[in-house]
C-alpha cells in the first residue's frame, strides 16, 4: 500500500506519481490521506490501480478517470468523476453538483445523495445513487444508465437523448422531452446488474423502479 499524505506532499506530486503508473504495475494499492477538500485529486489517472481517499474531496476528484478504482471515504465536491472514461468511482458520502458530468464509461456509485445536475450530458457512464438526486439531473444525457434508489428533483432528463433513467422514488417533475417508459424484461435484467455492481442489490429490487427516457420529439 502506497500512502500519500496530500497535506505534506501536495497535489502536483500526487497526480504526477499517479500519472507515472502506466499500464500494468505492481503498485496497485494507493491511499491518500489528509485530502481536506483539495480539488482535482487523482484526476487523469490511466492505470488499473485502487486508490482510497480518506476524507472528503473538492472539485473534480477522479476527473477523466481511466481504468482506476477510486474510493472516496467521505463526500465529494462538484464534478466528481467528470468525463470518466472507464474504471469505478465509489463515494461513501454525498456528491455535490455535476457528479459524473459527460462521463463516457465506467461506473460511478454514490452511496449518499447527489446534488443538482447529476449525470449532466452523460455519454455512456453508469451512475448508481443510493440516495436522491437534485434538480436538472441528466440534462442532455446522451447515453448510459442512471439508477436512483431515492427521489429525483425537478426537470429530470431535460432535453434527453438516449440515456436510460431508473428512479425508485418520486420524480418532482420531468424536463422537456423526458417521459416515463415501459419497464421490459431487458430493463429489469440491466437494472439488476447495475444494482449489484453499484453495491445496492440488498437495498432495492429492480421491480420497484420506473424507467424514463426521451420522447424523441425535440
Amino acid at each position: 500500500m502506497q500512502t500519500f499524505d496530500l497535506g505534506k506532499e501536495g497535489l502536483r506530486a500526487l497526480n504526477s506519481s499517479l500519472h507515472a503508473l502506466k499500464g500494468q504495475t505492481n503498485m496497485t494499492a494507493w491511499e491518500v490521506i489528509n485530502p481536506k477538500g483539495a480539488h482535482a485529486i487523482a484526476a487523469g489517472v490511466d492505470a488499473p490501480v485502487d486508490i482510497t481517499v480518506r476524507g472528503s474531496t473538492g472539485y473534480y476528484c477522479a476527473g477523466m478517470n481511466k481504468l482506476a478504482t477510486i474510493r472516496i471515504k467521505g463526500s465529494a465536491g462538484p464534478g466528481v468523476a467528470e468525463n470518466m472514461m472507464s474504471g469505478t468511482v465509489i463515494i461513501d458520502g454525498d456528491a455535490s453538483q455535476y457528479a459524473g458530468a459527460t462521463g463516457r464509461g465506467g461506473l460511478l456509485v454514490i452511496k449518499g445523495n447527489a446534488s443538482s445536475r447529476c449525470g449532466i450530458s452523460m455519454k455512456g457512464i453508469d451512475i448508481v445513487v443510493h440516495g436522491s438526486i437534485g434538480h436538472m439531473s441528466c440534462f442532455m444525457a446522451q447515453s448510459g444508465n442512471m439508477v436512483v434508489l431515492g427521489d429525483a428533483g425537478e426537470a429530470l432528463g431535460d432535453s434527453l437523448y438516449e440515456a436510460r433513467l431508473f428512479v425508485r422514488g418520486s420524480v418532482k417533475s420531468l424536463g422537456a422531452d423526458c417521459v416515463e417508459k415501459e419497464m421490459r424484461p431487458e430493463h429489469i435484467a440491466l437494472l439488476s446488474d447495475l444494482l449489484k455492481r453499484g453495491e445496492a442489490d440488498g437495498k432495492a429490487r429492480p421491480e420497484e423502479f420506473k424507467r424514463y427516457g426521451s420522447a424523441r420529439k425535440l
Binding site: 497535489l11 502536483r12 497526480n15 504526477s16 500519472h19 480539488h39 482535482a40 484526476a43 487523469g44 490511466d46 473538492g58 472539485y59 473534480y60 476527473g63 477523466m64 481511466k66 462538484p78 464534478g79 467528470e82 468525463n83 472514461m85 453538483q97 455535476y98 458530468a101 459527460t102 463516457r104 445536475r117 449532466i120 450530458s121 455519454k123 455512456g124 440534462f139 442532455m140 446522451q142 447515453s143 432535453s159 437523448y161 438516449e162 424523441r216 425535440l218
Partner: protein
C-alpha cells in the same frame, strides 16, 4: 384632362425587398432561418482604419532587405511547453462534422506548411487533423463531444471555449443531414438526428469555477499545455479580465463577423460586437492587470488580409485567427461551382446553407460523393499560399511603419476614417487628434 406625373415607386429603407422576402418566408414556413457564416451586415471594421506610414518623425525599413520578424510565443504564463509559431495567423476551431475529414486535413496541411496552428472544433479530434497538424489546439467545449484525456495529452494546447463571436451566449448546432455514422460515433449520438450543443459548460459556472476547471485540466496534462480561453465579443473588458483571473495562458477573442457552422440568422446578425470594438477593451483589461503580452491575445472575426492582421496587431493583439477566410482559400463559395449553387437557390460568394450538408465545393459536408471533390493536398497548398501572402502583406505594412517585428506595430501607427471606428478602436480620426469619448471612459 391633364395628366400629372405619378410619384415613382419608392422602396422603404426599413422594409426593403430583402426584409419583406424574409417576412414572407417566415410567414409561409413558420421556421426561423438557420445559416452558416458570420454577420453579413455592414459593420465598422478594419477597413475604417489606415496606417500612417513612416515620415520625418520615424523612418521606414527597406522592404526586402531589412528584417521584419513574424513569430509569436503563446502560452508562456504557466505552460511548461508554450507554443512557438512562425506566423501570428492561426486557424480557428471548426468542427469535424461541420467540415469534412479531408477539409480538416487540408487545414492541418496548410497551417503546418505555413508554420502555424490549427484548432479542432465541437466534434472532437480526428486522426486526419492530428496527423497533419504540427501544432494542434484542442477545444474544450460545453458539449464535450469526443472529449477524452488521451486527446488532451496529444494536443499542443487546449482552448476552453466559453463563447464565439457569431453567437455569444449560444450553443452549437449540427443538423441531422450531417450526422453520418462517423460523426454520430464521435459524438455519442444517434445518426441523423438534429444535434444541439449546450451553451453552458456542464460542470462549471462562473469565473471561480473556471479557475478550478483550468487547474484540473492542467493537472490532467501535467501542466505542460498552454490553456486558452475563447470568448465571444460581448463584454470583452470583463471577460478578458476574468479569463486572466481564472488562469488562462491565452485569451482568444472572436468578434461578430466570426463564422459558425450553423445558427439562427437573427443570432448571428444581432448578438455580439464587431471585432474592432472588442480589441481595445480586451487590451485595456490586460494592461490594467499588467498582463499585456504576458497573457497573449488572439483575435478573430473578419480577418481577410495582411492589412487586417497588421491592424489587429497594432491595436494590441499578439496574433489573429482565421476561419471563414481559410475556408474560402480552400475553395468554399468558389464561382467554379456556380451552376450548382444556382440549383441550390443561391450563388457563389453568398452560399451559407452549410448546415444542409450539400456544399458543392465538398468542404462543409459529410456526403462522401461531395467530399471527394475536395483535394486535401491542393487545399492545403492553397491555404499555405494564402497565409504566406497575408504574412508578406503584414510585413510590408510593418516595415513601412518602421517596425522590425509585427508585434512592434502600435495604435500610434493608425488613424481612423470614421467617427465610429475612431471611437471603437481608440485611434484618432484621420487628420485630427480627436478620439470620440476619450474623455468620458473608453
Amino acid at each position: 384632362m391633364t395628366e400629372f406625373p405619378k410619384t415613382p415607386p419608392r422602396f422603404s429603407a426599413t422594409f426593403t425587398p430583402a426584409v419583406n422576402a424574409e417576412i414572407r418566408r417566415a410567414a409561409a414556413s413558420g421556421i426561423y432561418d438557420i445559416r452558416g457564416g458570420g454577420a453579413k451586415r455592414q459593420l465598422p471594421h478594419f477597413d475604417d482604419l489606415l496606417f500612417l506610414g513612416a515620415s520625418i518623425s520615424r523612418y521606414p525599413l527597406e522592404g526586402y532587405r531589412e528584417k521584419c520578424a513574424t513569430d509569436v510565443w503563446l502560452g508562456t504564463r504557466f505552460a511548461k511547453k508554450p507554443i512557438h509559431l512562425e506566423i501570428p495567423i492561426t486557424i480557428a476551431g471548426m468542427s469535424f462534422g461541420a467540415l469534412s475529414g479531408p477539409a480538416k486535413e487540408a487545414l492541418g496541411r496548410g497551417a503546418t506548411a505555413a508554420g502555424t496552428s490549427t484548432t479542432t472544433g465541437d466534434g472532437g479530434m480526428t486522426e486526419e487533423e492530428r496527423g497533419h497538424s504540427k501544432t494542434l489546439v484542442y477545444q474544450y467545449l460545453p458539449s464535450r463531444y469526443g472529449m477524452n484525456p488521451d486527446d488532451l495529452r496529444r494536443a499542443d494546447a487546449i482552448e476552453v471555449v466559453v463563447g464565439q463571436g457569431a453567437k455569444p451566449g449560444g450553443g452549437g448546432m449540427l443538423l441531422g443531414q450531417k450526422i453520418s455514422d462517423r460523426v454520430a460515433n464521435m459524438r455519442n449520438l444517434p445518426k441523423g438526428i438534429d444535434q444541439r450543443s449546450a451553451c453552458r459548460h456542464p460542470d462549471w459556472t462562473g469565473p471561480d469555477d473556471l479557475e478550478i476547471k483550468i487547474m484540473e485540466i492542467r493537472e490532467i496534462t501535467d501542466w505542460e499545455k498552454p490553456i486558452y480561453v475563447k470568448i465571444g465579443g460581448a463584454r470583452p473588458y470583463y471577460d478578458t479580465a476574468l479569463a486572466v483571473k481564472a488562469g488562462a495562458d491565452v485569451v482568444v477573442l472572436d468578434g461578430m463577423q466570426g463564422g459558425t457552422a450553423a445558427t439562427q440568422d437573427v443570432f448571428i446578425e444581432h448578438v455580439g460586437m464587431p471585432i474592432l470594438a472588442c480589441i481595445p477593451q480586451a487590451v485595456k483589461a490586460l494592461q490594467d492587470l499588467g498582463m499585456h503580452r504576458k497573457v497573449q491575445l488572439i483575435v478573430s472575426g473578419g480577418i481577410r488580409s495582411g492589412a487586417d492582421v497588421a491592424k489587429a496587431m497594432a491595436l494590441g493583439a499578439d496574433a489573429v485567427s482565421i476561419g471563414t477566410a481559410a475556408m474560402i482559400a480552400l475553395g468554399d463559395n468558389d464561382p467554379i461551382w456556380e451552376e450548382e449553387y444556382q440549383k441550390l437557390g443561391t450563388t457563389a460568394n453568398a452560399y451559407d446553407d452549410w448546415h444542409e450538408g450539400r456544399d458543392p465545393a465538398g468542404i462543409t459536408t459529410q456526403d462522401p460523393e461531395l467530399s471527394k471533390r475536395f483535394d486535401p493536398v491542393l487545399g492545403g497548398r492553397r491555404l499555405k499560399n494564402y497565409l504566406k501572402v497575408m504574412t508578406l502583406e503584414a510585413q510590408t505594412i510593418a516595415r513601412a511603419c518602421g517596425k522590425n517585428h509585427l508585434h512592434n506595430l502600435e495604435p500610434e501607427d493608425l488613424c481612423s476614417l470614421t467617427i465610429e471606428a475612431s471611437a471603437m478602436a481608440g485611434v484618432p480620426l484621420a487628420g485630427t487628434n480627436w478620439i470620440p469619448g476619450r474623455n468620458g471612459g473608453f
